[in-house]
């Protein structure tokens, strides 16, 4: 396609443009190992004296842990070590802490309150897997079962149980301001009033388990140089390394991580839960330790692609042009954040789909429920909303009596158009794809649509950023006090009048540029400006404090550990309770390891054979 612009400045030597690969098999570089059964997956490393680690898991969706009794298990045959929550040196983390996004909200072993069925509480290390299983069965956990919430919209109600005490409103805090990610572009309400048709739809996608054939796991073992080797199935080796260093409060230079051969991942092997426990087990026992899911755990506890619910409202003219589109999205993050907060940033940048629509608004919520935490899976953040958008396009076509492919061609991005997240569309090809699809499917389209092109008709007035109406509905915590409409229509308990408008700006930012094309004085800080993870680090533009979030109150019992719970004896600071505040939540100081990723070991008596000295 001639309209595609290759970045030859960056990838000049990497490949030939005369591509001719599709439909032909390629000899993989790792295939010889696969067909001979010699590819080294994490479990294909033999260690003498290998121990097996298994976890005691919550049978409840939501329960406070009153007591854990390990006495019977301790003396069972083969049991070498029982790992309690307080044995984890820094037992609180969030996966994206490594890029500074979000607050630590999840324990490796949960000693206070379990928030989903299958959450790990205690780990047993034993000589055989069966002995570890038998010992797990013998550990008694005394639960105080709590009400649970499994639906994203029920979780937003003021009286919903608090799932995750780091986020007591059951929503991720976006930009320290709102309980959802906003996108505002133009004035959807005004455009709805001018539209000939309004088409609304609700779409939903259930959680999907990645179900890799190899279950998630890791084997860790002490090396002879005061380091720990860790063979792992991870899809994100340095994520796992950094996460392990943080949870175990141990410099990453003392860990030797080996991965790369993964028996299927599809996103389900990035959560870095196995490596820290395997390394901790090896550290506490001085022996090689294997920790992996069995199939039942992989399906029940292994984090899936999260459920999503989307409501879409379109305003369109009778000729099929869509002039306004409003989204309300709910991501079911499960009990903890993992990657759902990021998926929403990514998904919002994708709105309103590959169509040029002059007025777009969106509220997307990362909601905590008592379900298995969600994580990555093949295009997560995009898949659910794309499914919804394309279902909705068909509904729109039906409403106006239009050929669904022509509708898509008519509304498609063309080169030079302004997207709702304020970047110029480039390398557009939807029109051409739709034309080819119609041809291949023998689906007739009118000559005028067959003649359209992504290269023509874009830009000009379609390149403008319109007058944008913004609002500050949905501040963090506000929903706890009043039920507020979740959609972006701003007709909740707060005034529906636009709080400010901004002048049109030509957006010419390059990727990575994160300047919001709006005045700094306006409270539009969380209007999405970029989708790259780097941009998520950019501090929110200070808001004009017209509206202070209402006071937040928490009952003391909701945050204090139960009497006799292991955390009270924790050698290190126990997980920070949620900030009880009458002001806007303060940013939590990011975790800093005591010895941040230092090379070598300086402890007295430590082995001299450390990586740092060996390198000299």
């Amino acid at each position: 396609m001639s309209s595609i612009e290759f970045r030859k400045d960056l990838f000049a030597d990497e490949r030939d443009d005369a591509l001719n690969e599709i439909g032909k098999p390629t000899i993989r570089q790792d295939i010889l190992g696969h067909v001979t059964g010699r590819s080294p997956y994490f479990d294909d490393h033999l260690f003498d004296g290998l121990l097996h680690l298994r976890c005691v898991r919550s049978p409840h969706h939501h329960a406070r842990i009153r007591a854990i009794n390990t006495r019977a298990a301790q003396s069972m045959p083969g049991v070498v070590r029982i790992i309690m929550p307080q044995d984890v040196p820094n037992n609180l983390n969030t996966l994206l802490a490594l890029i500074g996004f979000g607050k630590d909200d999840e324990a490796l072993l949960q000693g206070n309150k379990v928030a989903y069925q299958g959450e790990a509480i205690v780990a047993v290390v034993a000589e055989t897997e069966l002995q570890a299983r038998n010992a797990c069965n013998a550990i008694q956990v005394d639960y105080d079962v709590l009400p649970h919430v499994l639906d994203v919209e029920e979780a937003l109600l003021p009286n919903a149980p608090v799932v995750n005490e780091t986020y007591p409103n059951n929503t991720f805090d976006y930009h320290e301001l709102y309980d959802h990610q906003k996108l505002r572009f133009g004035d959807t309400q005004k455009a709805f009033a001018e539209a000939d048709h309004i088409v609304e739809g609700q779409y939903q996608m259930s959680p999907i388990e990645q179900a890799p054939t190899e279950t998630c796991g890791a084997i860790a073992a002490p090396e002879t140089n005061d380091r720990y080797v860790c063979y792992t199935s991870t899809q994100a080796l340095f994520f796992s390394l950094g996460t392990t260093a943080k949870l175990l409060d141990m410099p990453s230079s003392r860990m030797h991580f080996i991965g790369g051969t993964v028996g299927g991942g599809f996103g389900g092997k990035v959560d870095s839960l196995h490596e820290p426990l395997a390394v901790l087990g090896a550290r506490l026992t001085g022996r090689p330790v294997k920790y992996s899911y069995d199939r039942a755990e992989e399906m029940q506890v292994g984090a899936p692609r999260g459920a999503e619910r989307w409501r879409i409202k379109d305003g369109l003219l009778s000729d099929g042009r869509i002039i306004a589109r409003q989204f309300t999205g709910f991501f079911d993050s499960g009990a903890y954040t993992r990657l759902s907060s990021y998926a929403i940033i990514k998904g919002t940048g994708h709105l309103p789909g590959p169509y040029t629509i002059p007025n777009v608004s969106s509220n997307v919520y990362c909601v905590y429920t008592n379900r298995t935490p969600a994580t990555a899976m093949r295009g997560f953040g995009i898949t659910g909303v794309d499914f919804s958008i394309e279902c909705h396009m068909d509904k729109v076509a039906e409403t106006v009596g239009m050929n669904p492919i022509e509708l898509r061609i008519l509304n498609a991005y063309r080169d030079g158009d302004m997207k709702a997240h304020r970047r110029t569309a480039k390398n557009c090809a939807l029109i051409e794809c739709a034309q080819v699809a119609a041809q291949k499917a023998n689906w007739s389209i009118e000559p005028q649509y067959a003649a359209m092109s992504s290269l023509q008709g874009g830009g000009a007035e379609r390149a403008q950023i319109p007058q944008t109406v913004i609002d500050d509905v949905g501040k963090i915590g506000a929903r706890k006090h009043n039920a507020i409409e979740t959609d972006p229509a701003t007709n909740g308990t707060i005034s529906s009048k636009p709080s400010s408008t901004v002048t049109p700006v030509h957006a010419t930012q390059a990727m990575g540029d994160s300047v919001a094309p709006v005045s700094n004085s306006a409270p539009v800080a969380n209007v999405i400006a970029a989708t790259s993870p780097a941009a998520m680090n950019v501090p929110a533009v200070p808001a004009t404090h017209g509206q202070t979030p209402p006071p937040q109150t928490f009952t003391q019992s909701a945050t204090s550990p139960p009497a006799g719970a292991p955390s009270s004896q924790a050698p290190r600071p126990s997980p920070a309770p949620p900030v009880v505040s009458t002001d806007a939540p303060k940013p939590v100081e990011p975790y800093r390891p005591q010895q941040p990723f230092s090379r070598g070991v300086k402890r007295p008596g430590a082995s001299p054979f450390v990586s740092g000295t060996r390198r000299r």
Binding site: P25, T26, I27, R28, D30, I31, L32, G33, H34, V35, T36, G37, R38, S39, Y41, D43, D44, L46, L50, T128, L130, A211, P212, T213, E214, T215, V262, G263, G264, G265, F266, D294, R295
Partner: protein, 160 residues
Amino acid sequence: MAKTPVQFTLNDKETAVFVDGGANLLDVLRRVVGDLSPKYGCGQGTCGTCTVLIDGEPRLSCLTLAETVSDQSIETTGGLADGPDLHPLQRVFMEQFAAQCGYCTPGMLMAAKALLARNPNPQREDVIEAISGNICRCTGYEPIIDAILDAAGEMRGRVS
């Protein structure tokens, strides 16, 4: 802990091991004998990743009690190649992208080998049935089915 002696042939090699009571064949092959080619996928007979041939017939090693294989002949993917010469199934799987992550491949190869031993001229439906107990989550089944059919053709050609 009392262990039970078990003798069998593994890929035509006499093998003798001591096994724990209740140990499954998969664990014994992998951790005691050291043949890492059969893989663990489910431990319950649904994925087929641990498929080995016992006396020529495909069986799930994770559901086979190790001490029941005394005097039996076990074949695994680890023994499929003849020295440096790959088995036709292995070569065709390689050439036709019949594996992506490779984790299901050893089980697929064993299921295919059993099929071709019984039926050298299988139809497409026969191949589908033969690998119906083996789950592949990456590649999709079409390249695998094509590869097995091609290997069958190649093996027939070699015999005739």
